[in-house]
Amino acid sequence: MNSLWIMLTGALVAASCGFLGCFLILRRMAMLGDAISHAILPGIVIAFLFSGSRETLPMLIGAAVVGLLTVFFVQLLHQSGVKSDAAIGVTFTALFSVGVVLVSLYAQQVDLDLDCVLYGEIAYVPWDTWEWGGMDMGPRAVWAVGGVFLISLLVVGLFFKQFKLCSFDPAMAAAVGIPVLLFHYLLMTLVSLTTVASFESVGAILVVAMLVVPGATAYLLTDRLHVMLFISMGIGVLCSVFGYMLASWLDSSIAGAMTAVSGVLFLLAFLFSPRHGVVAKAIAQRRVRVQNRQTKPASH
């Protein structure tokens, strides 16, 4: 049962990160996801200090606020002439360092371990349960990540066409009256929420992998946006299941193994994708070369 909970948590984390990550990749903002996942640290700490507990809701709110602040600062710096990658780098390191200082100052009070924030520990998920009216409702992480995942699915499902057009052609989206900036911030809010709900179980650093790798893998495997979203979620589930199996076989870090599996899956797609894969391209080129060789003598 415990391994099932762990796999479920991992699958939910990977699927919700992967699915939002698709949009980040398509907008060439994968690193903004990276930035958010680090920059929310001060938000989490401040939420701890205010609520005095590890309740999920205050943490989600704190992270969402700081996540949006990150995006806002990046936008502001970029508009004032700072290159966008530099703007991202400056913003998230600044906020992250504030978080690190806060953690070291108040670590005793808030019972927050920096290692835990960065690397997470998914193995403990089954024991951190949520009790509701005296009943054991199962692991808290499953509820937190699952809830945020449902919200993301709902929002993106409802506004799929807006997200699609804003990603493909923001100028056209603005011209037909879609509030592009609002949807930008909406997406980033979802990324912030997902990140903070996930960080406890897999850690901030591995969330970054899940935000980028499943989406990048799915991108290689399809030419349709909605298919890409589904594939990325499927890949997330595979990462979790195989990652857990790998970790129990090697007796290693579960989150690390899950990420390693995502890397292997990406490599497989990179090599063997029917259209974009290296192998398929090599075969196609070889075919052209052979045809050329066959037609050349005739022309001489």
Binding site: S167, F168, D169, A175, G177, I178, T222, D223, R224, L225
Partner: protein, 263 residues
């Protein structure tokens, strides 16, 4: 002056746009008649793209007013169709040609409705009009430049607008596509629609457009092609870089305002 100016489809008064401190467009005023094919002509960096973006509220306006059929752009959004420059989007986006054309319907769908069967049928019809029906399910990165431009045009048709803004639709397309596009533009004109086209090739201006706006940071001249597209006006627009050689117009390629690119 033209004796019978009917309704103005687009009225711009005193439009000024500045990206940094320097104005890109200064006090642009123009009244565009309905049902005409209009070329927006000017050198690189003259603010042609900026002009059609500013009119649609895509770049902030420092001052001035824009009216579309007598009302503000926000009220008349559904009457306007837009074809951005082809390079402005990432053609590796996971979508097929029909997906892109369907995007033209989004403005009419409101916040929550999804494109339905009629929208798909309409989008397919638009693809057919640009001769791309066979490519409906083709991934957009696998289309040639000319085909991509046609898909963009089909998307604009799917908007069912009255007034169209097209940013260099002829840039980098093959001769067949250029012909197909101009045929389509003439069809739109016959339906009393107004089309404003940012255009570079001076050789084809007289053949393609019945109205021109000569632009270089300000309006040099605007009016029917026969009266406006004169050597004298062109000289004013392009400065010393225009040479008239035996009836042929030649423009040296160097940008006239060799700072800032035109955004």
């Amino acid at each position: 002056m033209a004796p019978t100016i009917t309704t103005a489809s687009l009225t711009v008064r005193d439009l000024t746009v500045a990206y940094q401190k320097k104005p890109v467009l200064r006090n642009v005023s123009v009244e565009v008649p309905e049902g005409k094919l209009i070329g927006i002509i000017g050198p690189n960096g003259a603010g042609k793209s900026t002009f059609i973006k500013a009119v649609q509220g895509l770049v902030p306006i420092a001052s001035g007013q824009v009216e579309i059929y007598g009302k503000t752009y926000k009220q008349q959004r559904k009457l306007v169709g837009y074809v951005p420059q082809r390079e402005s989007v990432d053609w590796d986006f996971p979508a097929d040609a029909l997906d892109v054309v369907l995007m033209g319907r989004y403005g009419r769908l409101g916040w929550f409705r999804r494109p339905g069967r009629e929208d798909r049928a309409f989008a397919l019809e638009c693809l057919r009009k640009v001769g791309m029906a066979d490519y409906a399910s083709r991934q957009i990165s696998q289309l040639s430049g000319g085909q991509q431009q046609r898909v963009f045009l089909a998307r604009a048709l799917a908007q069912e607008a009255q007034l169209y803004f097209m940013d260099e639709p002829f840039a980098g397309v093959d001769a067949a596509t250029e012909k197909a596009i101009i045929h389509l533009l003439n069809e739109l004109k016959q339906q009393k629609k107004t089309v404003l086209v940012v255009h570079h090739d001076l050789q084809t201006v007289e053949e393609y457009f019945d109205w021109v706006i000569l632009l270089n940071r300000r309006v040099i001249a605007a009016g029917p092609t026969a009266e406006t597209f004169t050597a004298e006006n062109l000289q004013k627009t392009y400065g010393g870089r225009l040479h008239v050689l035996g009836g042929q117009l030649l423009v040296s390629s160097q940008s006239v305002n060799d700072e800032e690119d035109e955004r």
